[in-house]
């Protein structure tokens, strides 16, 4: 068998490992070598630890030698640095946690360890997942491998860079307002944010708890389906984890799309979308029609309010969640202070970056006496209107399609002085988080500067298998997902 590991699917890698065509140590070494060589340029990883990684690969080889097989056994995986991993630095890209070696594993980490996956490293991200460009990292910005002058998107930007540059076969991400889908789109990858409650948030450092959801990022829908199966499942340690029967998300990958109704929200296909993104998305919709699907116009009348509602609700929840970082139990503590209150104030002033502080301040303001009803409660009511719009739209269609982002990746530094401009890059993604719906992004061509364009699919609750079916059929008919940037 001829195998190019950096382009292979997870299924092909599992076959090669199962037939002993390659060992986990060999495969892992190949990705580690690439990561160590290219990370100084790309800044995809915050932590690489060759010894720990190879120890896990050797353990996987022992399991393989006993005849054990598994769809993920021995395959390397990169993690967004928001997932706590025992014995590994888990920083959330913040100075606040720059010295935090996690004493325990996140649920997702436990699941992948059981499956025999090898941890390749911990990926760069926007600090505490707050950002859309990975520029808000204490460790410096990650670079888009399609053009290193541009951002990879965020907040799961390092995960996206690692896969796009073929430093890792797959990675984990988290998505609070688009943080899996947007970097997947800007780096030419496939990424899925499942229905809220499908993946346990235990050990996933909290940003906005009613919106946060973990999910896989990979080259293809088929790879994502496999990874999601291992990530999903009930966990009593997360009070929002849903008790549902286990699913094989690959079960309907090959299903024909005849008669399937794809809804196109008229509010998304209007001003604000750049021409290059529009033409790539139009071509993708044409491909779906060739595959037997129908496209129909639907309406999400309140979708224009999703960014404002998101930027009330997410900061409000963040201001509460991040109150735990006070320099007492873990993480950074300011070196000089006069008393306890001063220790809190200096620790948080020095430990958090500018964007995190802004969001905590906004969150504190909208929750404060006299403003709670006008901002926070009103945003929660608008959230209901947004969710109701989707419920109505899904009476007329099976899946909703739109671009993932209004533009291709922008240049590093071009939006960092104006938070509001940055927030508006989340215009198509935040509504799925507010409603709790699953969303996915697949590459559908290239736009300005030969940069990747993403197509977003939003499904009804628990419709991940159908979304992955649509994505897979498209990837059978096209090869955008197999394109990779020129070697750096």
């Amino acid at each position: 068998m001829i195998l190019n590991p950096i382009q292979a699917s997870l299924k092909e890698l599992a076959q090669a490992l199962g037939t002993k065509a390659i060992s986990s140590v060999e495969l892992t070494t190949l990705f580690l070598d690439r990561s160590e060589r290219l990370n100084p340029t790309l800044n995809a990883f915050i932590t690489l630890d060759r010894d720990k990684t190879l120890a896990m690969a050797r353990a996987a080889d022992v399991r393989l030698a006993t005849g054990e097989t598994g769809p993920l056994l021995g395959i390397p995986l990169a993690y967004k640095d928001i997932f706590c991993m025992e014995g590994w630095l888990t920083t959330c890209a913040s100075k606040m946690l720059a010295n935090f070696v996690s004493p325990y594993d996140a649920h997702v980490v436990e699941q992948f360890k059981k499956a025999g996956m090898v941890t390749l490293g911990k990926c760069n991200m926007d600090e505490f997942a707050m950002g859309s460009s990975t520029e808000n990292s204490f460790y410096g910005p990650a670079k888009n491998p399609w053009d290193v002058r541009r951002v990879p998107g965020g907040s799961s930007g390092g995960s996206a860079v690692a896969i796009a540059a073929r430093l890792a076969p797959a990675a984990t991400g988290t998505d609070t307002g688009g943080s899996i889908r947007q970097p997947a789109a800007l780096c030419g990858l496939t990424g899925i944010k499942p229905t809220y409650g499908v993946v346990s948030r235990y050990g996933m450092i909290a940003f906005a708890s009613s919106l946060d959801q973990g999910g896989p990022m990979a080259k293809s829908a088929e790879d994502c389906a496999l990874l999601l199966g291992a990530m999903a499942g009930f966990d009593p340690r997360d009070s929002t984890s849903l008790q549902r029967p286990a699913e094989d998300y690959r079960r309907s990958l090959e299903k024909p799309l005849d008669g399937l109704r794809i809804g196109l929200p008229k509010e998304f296909f209007c001003a604000g979308m750049s021409d290059d993104v529009r033409s790539a998305v139009d071509a993708a919709l044409g491909e779906y029609r060739k595959l037997g699907a129908r496209t129909i116009e639907v309406s999400l009348p309140n979708s224009g309010l999703s960014v404002p509602a998101y930027y009330v609700i997410a900061p409000a929840e963040a201001s509460s969640n991040l109150s735990r970082f006070d320099g007492v139990r873990y993480g950074y503590r300011a070196p000089d202070y006069s008393d306890l209150a001063d220790m809190y104030c200096k620790t948080r002033a020095q430990g958090f970056g500018a964007e995190v502080k802004r969001r905590i301040l906004i969150g504190t303001y909208v929750l404060s006496h006299g403003y709670y009803d006008a901002y926070y409660l009103q945003a929660q009511k608008v959230r209901r209107l947004i969710a109701n719009d989707f419920a109505e739209a899904f009476k007329h269609c099976d899946i909703i399609a739109s671009p993932t982002t209004p533009n291709v990746a922008f240049e590093i530094g071009s939006k960092s002085s104006d938070p509001v401009q940055m927030y508006l890059s989340d215009i198509y993604t935040t509504s799925a988080n507010l409603a709790g719906l699953p969303g996915l992004s697949i590459p559908c061509g290239f736009g300005a500067g030969n940069m990747p364009v993403g197509l977003q699919l939003i499904g009804n609750y628990f419709d991940e298998a159908r979304m992955l079916n649509l994505a897979h059929r498209y990837q059978q008919a096209t090869d955008w997902h197999l394109r990779m940037p020129e070697e750096l």
């Binding site: 929002t240 930027y311 220790m343 104030c345 009511k381 927030y423």
Partner: protein, 95 residues
């Protein structure tokens, strides 16, 4: 609605984040930009709409009232800035 410098100071105190006068002025401007964005929510008629706190309408699970956690004090305190005899140390608050 916009906020002034004094309000920025009050919010920063509530959030336990020290802020210098120069930072406060710049923060004030950026926060007003963000408040301008979220201001749009005020014009929406939400009469009779129940606030949505969560994506799934599920009730909190109850469990047996028993010990489920094992003692991990040592490993948890290993990452703390300052501990003594199993306790977290902070500056003295009572003289």
């Amino acid at each position: 609605m916009s906020i002034n410098l004094e309000q920025v100071g009050r919010i920063a105190r509530l959030a336990h984040i020290e802020i210098s006068p120069t930072e406060a002025a710049q923060t004030n401007q950026l926060l007003n930009g963000i408040l301008g964005l979220i201001e749009q929510l005020q014009s929406v008629d939400t009469t009779g709409i129940a606030p949505m706190a969560h994506a799934q309408d599920v009730a909190q699970r109850l469990r047996e009232d028993g010990v489920t956690e094992k003692d991990q004090r040592e490993s948890f305190q290993a990452v703390a800035p300052e501990t003594e005899a199993g306790l977290y140390l902070v500056p003295r608050v009572i003289e």
